[in-house]
Amino acid sequence: MIMLEITNLHAGYAGLEVLRGIDISISPNEIVALIGPNGAGKSTVIKSIFNISDVTSGSIVYKGEEITDLHTHELIDFGISYVNQGRVIFSNLTVRENLEIGAELIRDRHVVEKNLSHVFRKFPVLKRKAGQLAYALSGGERQQLALGRALMQNPSLLLLDEPSLGLSPKLQKELFETISQLREDGLSILIVEQNAKKAIQIADKTYLLEDGKIALSGGKDIIKHEKIKNVYLGGRY
């Protein structure tokens, strides 16, 4: 069974075409990584799914339904959550408010409470700092808060845009462990990453994006491919 199927997607921003016909599929309970150089269009894939960039042609089908033109709240209701780049949180709201607002679309108070205690179990530091304003959080805590906020929406598919960017190696390691853990919890995850090696290691399937097209795809053994070795891991690792 396929959870998300992207077929021949062309997309971009205000007439500028970034993605030039890509195909990606995500199965339930799977981590899919998108790697590639800056400007290849990795983030645009996620933004197309979340209807933030302009899709010019192609289709995006989620659980059998075409979602290309849906509104944000409809996508969230469908179980798709998006954590954007830069660990963006509401700095002037408390940690608890940041989480509760994530569940804005859930009307059932009990479900919200249940999700909140689930997030607090997963990220104990957020529970400790629940009453504090979020602007005082450290980089790693901000990333946890951004993830926690997305989890408050009860997603089945999580879209993560460069979550490790700017984090220390230690925090990156913790983050990737958390992401693997989320898969164990039953989520599907599409992750856009600049850290190609780490991404390939945790992903079930990796797509290499170059110049708006899929240049290569495969499982964990993709790491042995000449192209990945030379261009993305060469020199750095």
Binding site: F50, H73, F90, N92, E104
Partner: protein
């Protein structure tokens, strides 16, 4: 001593009105990120609505007040939906929106002059009353009502912003509109509601000032300048800050005339506005945009 007490009380009365105007202005600014100077029109239109309902049509006073407040709130929503939103959809900059709001302020001022003439209108609900004595100062029952009612409403607004989901969403949009959209908050609906609440507060300010000082077409312009100054002093995108800033402005203006001729009262507030815009544009209590890395 009695004179000082009188000046402080006068400052509190003025500050109460400014705070009501500034709180609404600030609330609308925080969720929309542009200066709604036509907020002054909401104040003056409320004064004329009360005059029409109560003095001309003889509708019972409290019903007239209720109608006035609701209609002023609706006016704010109408301006948002039919003037600002279409401009925003055409990607108008905040400067364009600012100019539109000043245009609306002038339009309403002139419309009021055409309909009601430029002369002062008296609502005449409150008879001229003997003031009661407080620390040697004189204060009328209406003035006591102005201070208490403003205080109560501003506490209520604070509670609403802090403890309700809608208030939280307003603060979230003020903080980061893009993120608010990503998590599914309908920012247009929230912006419209902040126009309703902010304008209704302006309506209450218009009623109070209409009862205290009569109504005339140009009073909206002066009041929005005072409300704006109070908001700048306190921190324009932080509602509690702009409320405190407004009380401060009222007090400084009125205590200032202890030292300088009362004719310079307005000049004093303009001087304060300049000083803050130059040296502390974020205001005394403005939102801290600092981010810990």
């Amino acid at each position: 001593m009695a004179v000082v007490a009188q000046l402080i009380i006068n400052g509190l009365i003025a500050g109460s009105i400014y705070a009501l105007v500034a709180a609404g202005f600030s609330l609308i600014f925080s969720t929309n990120k542009f200066m709604h100077f036509a907020h002054g029109s909401s104040v003056v239109i409320a004064g004329y609505l009360l005059f029409t309902f109560f003095s001309l049509w003889h509708i019972p006073f409290y019903l007239s007040c209720l109608l006035t407040v609701v209609l002023t709130g609706v006016l704010g929503v109408v301006l948002h939906r039919f003037v600002y939103l279409p401009l925003e959809k055409k990607n108008a900059s905040t400067v364009v929106l600012l100019i539109a709001s000043i245009g609306l302020l002038m339009l309403f001022q002139n419309l009021l002059q055409i309909i009601f003439s430029a002369s002062v209108k008296t609502i005449g609900y409150v008879q001229v009353a003997q003031g009661v004595s407080l620390f040697g100062a004189s204060i009328t029952p209406l003035q006591i009502a102005i201070i208490l009612l403003s205080f109560f409403l501003l506490i209520l607004l604070y509670w609403f912003m802090k403890y309700t989901a809608l208030g939280r969403n307003m603060r979230a949009i003020a903080d980061n509109k893009e993120l608010a959209e990503i998590i599914g908050i309908d920012h247009i609906k929230v912006a419209s509601l902040s126009f309703f609440i902010g304008s209704a507060l302006a309506g209450i300010a218009g009623i109070l000032i209409g009862l205290e000082q009569n109504v005339y077409p140009t009073m909206g312009t002066m009041l929005i300048v005072k409300g704006f100054t109070g908001a700048v002093i306190g921190g324009i995108d932080f509602v509690p800050g702009s409320i405190l800033g407004s009380y401060l402005l009222g007090l400084i203006e009125n205590i200032g005339i202890w030292f300088i001729p009362s004719g310079y009262k307005d000049a004093l507030s303009f001087a304060l506005l300049f000083i803050f815009l130059l040296f502390r544009p974020q205001g005394l209590f403005g939102i801290n945009k600092g981010v810990r890395k």
